[in-house]
Subunit: 302 residues, 2 copies
């Protein structure tokens, strides 16, 4: 039995794109249910400008309600040194920094080109590591970019290698637009794995065109054993109207458990959590699994 | 560039589970749009009891409106000799017969055990072949069964081999319940390919738990080059409330074209057709691709 690690990103990457305000109590209930389901890595917030991402304005309050010294990791997104200071003040034990493999996306998303952003992140990583935090790296647009189209695997490898060299314990490779197909994902992973050990890589797939589960399966065949996913498929894609965003944790667990991988996560309990947050948001869960199963109760094997 | 064949099953396998009556004109418009989009195999009806499948009661009228001597194949489902006679009278050039790899499913679905059903189909196939028709075989429950759970690959291989021996030019392997994951699909294909040449096999995947595209990708790695799919993902699964049914043609085309396969099918035109039938049925298309793209106009490469 091979272990696969799931990094649950629903409370951050998922909720940050919600149009309606999500009350703190709803977020905390979601995070607690996810932790109770066995998820040990739950992205819990972001210390970014509330002007740009109002949904994350209460991240300090979220962290204040969590057991940050316990077995569950609650990474938070940090864009710069000011964000790092706020994360440290809130007690964060792990941060995530986020680069892009597309120059145009980087400029539009964080107002800095790739090289400038890496220099900025290096300073953040250095201080975070010195303060004893763990640092996770993201690379977005690893297959395609909404502005530039196809992205060369070599570009992804360069950015991933830079994040790894600055001390990231893990580099998450994001198909932000969901345009990837398995062949392109494998070509990208091949290039990246030449620079970063494959056991330090995570796959982060959006399901815009329904390819995410196939891309995860392809990544498994390439040796990747860590995947990001979002309960209930939370997180619409801002680049495609009506499109789904992050791959749903329930569907990923169905794939992994069906293939005999262990995750330590209870699929039924995650499905319960998916229905609860979907009810709170006034819609159906975005996962095929949760919709097909309906509201179930916990108790499946992990 | 490798060619992949798509067998469009929306007008039959898709619409047969619709609760609302679908007018003949709506069906015909759908079939014409699919043919115009470049689909050359379109399952157009079923000569089964209208008591059990009322949506297919107008299959003779459907065939009467199509060009059955043209380049597009319009197979129809036939359960027995009476059905074959009706199909012949309606001018059908290709029929499909449908066995199951699960004894219980076979008994419940067609009121005959596997061996009895194969004997019945053998008579149908013999007469159909003698009349110059092409015969396609289906095997359902090739990974799991709603009544029996897991199905042994050996059972699937036996039924597929029987259909092939009785003259089916192609045997379509159906994960009817959508429970399969790629490892199980590959194990099943391995067993079947020992009995039937892989270029005579088709994959028919339901997307109940979101695994269909991954299972198609796995099947491609095993050499399968024919897949059944349903425009707009038409066809809910009768075994799981709220669940999706057949994998959507648009998502399959996105996968195939993204990987460099040619299909002869215009994805944008199929997406138009998906929106038109979804509008007629009063809901959104079931494919991620169509929902993400919205209503587009034809013109993408085939």
């Amino acid at each position: 039995m091979t272990q696969v690690k799931i990094v649950e990103v629903g409370p951050r990457d998922g909720l940050q794109n919600e149009k309606q305000a999500v009350p703190l109590a709803v977020k905390l209930a979601l995070i607690r249910r996810l932790a109770d389901a066995g998820l040990s890595h739950i992205e819990a917030g972001a210390f970014v400008s509330p002007k740009w991402v109002p949904q994350m304005a209460d991240s300090a309050a979220v962290l204040a309600s969590l057991n940050l010294a316990g077995p569950v990791n609650y990474p938070v997104l940090v864009p710069n040194l000011a964000g790092l200071e706020a994360a440290l003040a809130a007690g964060a034990r792990e941060i995530a920094i986020f680069g892009a493999a597309s120059e145009t996306f980087s400029l539009k998303n964080i107002n800095a080109g790739i090289q400038d952003s890496l220099a900025r992140f290096e300073a953040v990583a250095r201080q975070a590591l010195a303060a004893g935090l763990r640092v996770r790296g993201y690379v977005s647009c690893v297959v395609g970019c909404p502005y530039e189209g196809d992205i060369a695997p070599r570009k992804v490898a360069e950015v991933a290698a830079a994040l790894y060299r600055m001390g990231c314990h893990e580099v998450s490779l994001g198909d932000t637009v969901g345009v990837g197909t398995p062949d392109k994902v494998l070509a990208m992973l091949d290039a990246v794995a030449a620079e970063v050990p494959v056991d330090r890589l995570a796959g982060h797939f959006h399901d815009t065109y329904g390819m995410a589960i196939a891309n995860i399966y392809a990544s498994l065949t390439a040796g990747v054993r860590t995947f990001d996913s979002s309960v209930a498929g939370l997180g619409g894609c801002p680049y495609a109207r009506g499109a789904s965003g992050n791959v749903a944790t329930e569907d990923v667990l169905y794939l992994l458990h069906g293939m005999g991988y262990t995750t330590g996560v209870d699929l039924a309990a995650v499905t319960d959590a998916a229905w609860q947050i979907a009810d709170a948001l006034g819609r159906e869960p975005g996962s095929k699994y949760a919709r097909a199963r309906g509201r179930v109760s916990a108790g499946t094997p992990r």
